[in-house]
């Protein structure tokens, strides 16, 4: 940044309350660039108590408030205004998040905004890529993964426009607490954690291979630091290879957290969860067929500051709206909660609009499936069919039995046709993923099987297309509209 211009830029602060850490950045801000004045992090591990009990303990609450008060003083020292505070997975999940937010407001004067997983992914993307986007020859296809304590956000982008994103409820603190609690973790714990990750990530649908993946978050940055210290990596190198991570894994599974902390200058709480972080990153690299990743120290906080400069006061609304757009290209998972229902609303009445809403969502997909361009469309339509069936099952007692039977049969036929295609897609995806790990003399058998399954998949696609062409959408909608007779919705009598 030009120094004169830099001095005239506004100073802002952004704090994020994550599952592992509370992190602050104070910076002079412009829409495309940041001059960072302060960057501090404290490991509070709120997620630990949320994983154990479902709520934020008083001890964690007090620790968080102490850190926030200190950060507020720090931000004010620089004249930062506004001071943004966002919270992510641990606060999203805590059953007592409302009282926590109230206590923070009361004792610090700071308002915390709890953001959705998708908004989190978008903001992290802004933060992690703003430096790369200015580099000459920046890659057209890029991915960003934010590995937090309680969740992992993954975003892919083309020419810096987000094309796909997902939020996965697996983080380094969570994996540690769930699977790797011994110090150091036992061989059995390690094996089970690896098997869990392998299984889980095989099931995560990722559309395309990525040439570049930028990883952010405390665990990723601490692993880079560990590699610098332990294996004498060049100080300016910000890449980690598969080999680096295998070496980290060996080291972290052999030493206690206390030894790691002492030898490699890591905070003890971070040292405890580093192995979990290394395993998750390895699993994602393996799923994406990557041998190297880039580590970025920037993330959601920088994203918040950039979003504010770009969009003004309504930055969070704009980011949240763009993150929640029903764009088939952007959403990785079908989002539940499509229609708001009030707890006191009569059951039959809520059934009428929920069934219509689920049917509408289900019917968004046939055109995408018929294009046969994206295997994910089949998966998403199948998920929509399951949610529609779950809604039909819930409201069956209010429905006209004859119409119910007709609608249910149609939806089940769709689910069966989609299921046959999707299950074959999953087998093919798994086989392709395994193929690279097989010895050359073993690959011929896999290729034979892939060829047979592809033949079968083509048959299933034809059947699916035949079914979808005969699916009378208007008729289905009319049937669903008359599923719960007006009389039942009005007075409970059929």
């Amino acid at each position: 940044m030009n120094n004169m211009r830099e001095q005239s830029l506004p100073v802002r602060a952004a704090i994020d309350i994550g599952s592992n850490t509370i992190h602050i950045v104070v910076a002079r801000c412009s829409p495309q660039d940041l001059d960072i004045l302060e960057d501090q992090v404290e490991l509070v591990r709120i997620g630990e108590s949320v994983t154990a009990t479902g709520e934020i303990s008083q001890q964690k609450c007090r620790a968080a408030i102490a850190v926030l008060n200190r950060y507020k003083t720090l931000a004010e020292k620089y004249g930062a205004h506004p001071i943004f505070v966002v919270a992510t997975e641990a606060i999203r999940q805590a059953s007592n998040s409302a009282s926590f937010l109230e206590q923070v407001q009361r004792e610090t004067g700071l308002t915390v905004q709890v953001i959705s997983g998708n908004a989190e992914a978008t903001l992290t993307f802004y933060g992690a890529t703003y430096e790369v986007s200015r580099e000459p020859g920046a890659p057209a296809q890029i991915g960003v993964m934010d590995l937090g304590g309680g969740s992992l956000e993954l975003v892919t982008a083309k020419n810096m426009h987000i094309t796909w994103r997902t939020s996965i409820p697996i983080g380094s603190g969570w994996l540690h607490d769930r699977y790797l609690s011994s110090n150091p973790p036992s061989y059995d714990e390690l094996t089970v954690a690896e098997a869990f990750l392998q299984t889980y990530f095989q099931g995560v649908r990722i559309k395309r291979r990525l040439p570049v993946l930028i990883v952010t978050g405390g665990s990723a940055n601490s692993l880079l630091l560990l590699v610098h210290h332990a294996f004498k990596l060049e100080v300016h190198r910000n890449q980690l290879t598969e080999r680096d991570l295998v070496r980290c894994q060996g080291l972290l599974s052999a030493l206690t957290a206390e030894e790691v902390s002492e030898r490699y200058h890591q905070p003890l709480e971070r040292a405890r969860i580093l192995l979990a972080g290394a395993l998750i990153i390895q699993a994602v690299m393996s799923r994406l067929h990557l041998t190297e990743i880039r580590i970025s120290p920037h993330g959601i906080r920088e994203g918040v500051l950039l979003a504010y400069e770009r969009y003004g006061e309504h930055w969070l609304e704009i980011v949240s709206q763009s993150a929640a757009l029903p764009n088939h290209q952007q959403q990785a998972e079908f989002q539940p909660g499509v229609s708001t229902v009030k707890a006191e609303e009569p059951f039959a009445q809520s059934g009428r609009h929920m069934l219509l809403e689920r049917t509408r969502k289900f019917l968004e997909w046939p055109k995408e499936v018929l294009k046969h361009e994206d295997v994910e469309a089949v998966h998403k339509m199948r998920v929509a069919s399951r949610r529609l069936r779950a809604t039909l099952d819930a409201y069956e007692s209010c429905c006209d039995p004859q119409i119910f039977k007709k609608v249910y049969r149609q939806v089940k036929r769709a689910a069966d046709a989609l299921g046959a295609a999707r299950d074959t897609d999953v087998m093919l995806l798994n086989l392709h993923a395994q193929l690279e790990h097989m010895k050359s003399e073993e690959q011929a058998g896999m290729q034979w099987l892939i060829a047979r399954l592809e033949t079968f998949r083509q048959q299933k696609q034809q059947e699916l297309e035949t079914f979808l062409h005969t699916l009378d959408e208007d008729k289905l909608k009319k049937q669903v509209e008359s599923l719960i007779p007006e009389g039942v919705a009005a007075n409970g009598k059929s």
Binding site: T199, E345, P346, F347, A348, M438, W448, F456
Partner: protein
């Protein structure tokens, strides 16, 4: 697994929140009709049914998320994880059955239908792990695997069997960790809150 059991005794005029709790409790009980099979790694169909039951409870909690307590969200995550674990196990079972089918049919007198289960439990009629249409494609005589291809299939079968062991261990360990904290009671308490 058959269609979900219809829920009886729901008052169409009752608040949605009240009925949503009744439905969720019924779906919870469905899960626990299958839990005795958790220690039986090769009761493939029953473990699959447990997965479907978990999925039904998860979808019920999601469909009614607006009217159920916030505390249901971590429960949804647990159910999603169980579903993922059992789903991966089922995928492996299908792949193992399929590989045994490809390998067994070429060098033994065993009828292909006998290869469609793991050998310890026979799938019920109409519940074959591998659909008859897929069997026909795999056993197409003109494209039978060569000796080299069979070797690769055998290696993959071994890998898949090892993976299944791990997947089962992962699921069982998770299941028991949930039982240790009395998951069923936990859900009932949330729904009764």
């Amino acid at each position: 697994m058959a269609k979900a059991k219809p829920i009886t005794g729901l008052d169409p005029q009752a608040p949605t929140g009240k009925n949503a709790r009744l439905i969720a409790k019924e779906r919870l009980e469905e899960i626990y009709t299958w839990d005795r099979y958790v220690d039986h790694p090769y009761h493939i169909q029953e473990l699959h049914n447990l997965r479907i039951a978990a999925k039904r409870l998860r979808y019920t909690l999601e469909v009614f998320e607006d009217v159920l307590p916030e505390a249901c969200k971590p429960i949804i995550k647990e159910l999603e994880q169980i579903q993922e674990e059992l789903g991966a196990l089922h995928d492996s079972d299908v792949m193992i059955a399929l590989l045994r089918l490809c390998l067994g049919s070429q060098d033994s007198a065993i009828h292909p239908e006998q290869l469609q289960s793991d050998g310890e439990t026979q799938p019920k009629k109409g519940k074959s792990l591998v659909s008859p249409e897929l069997v026909a494609v795999l056993l197409e005589p003109t494209v039978a695997p060569s000796a080299g291809e069979r070797y690769g299939l055998e290696q993959y079968l071994q890998m898949q069997e090892q993976l299944r062991e791990k997947q089962y261990t992962t699921f069982r360990q998770h299941w028991y960790s949930l039982q240790a904290r009395d998951f069923r009671r936990e859900i009932l308490d949330i729904l009764d809150a």
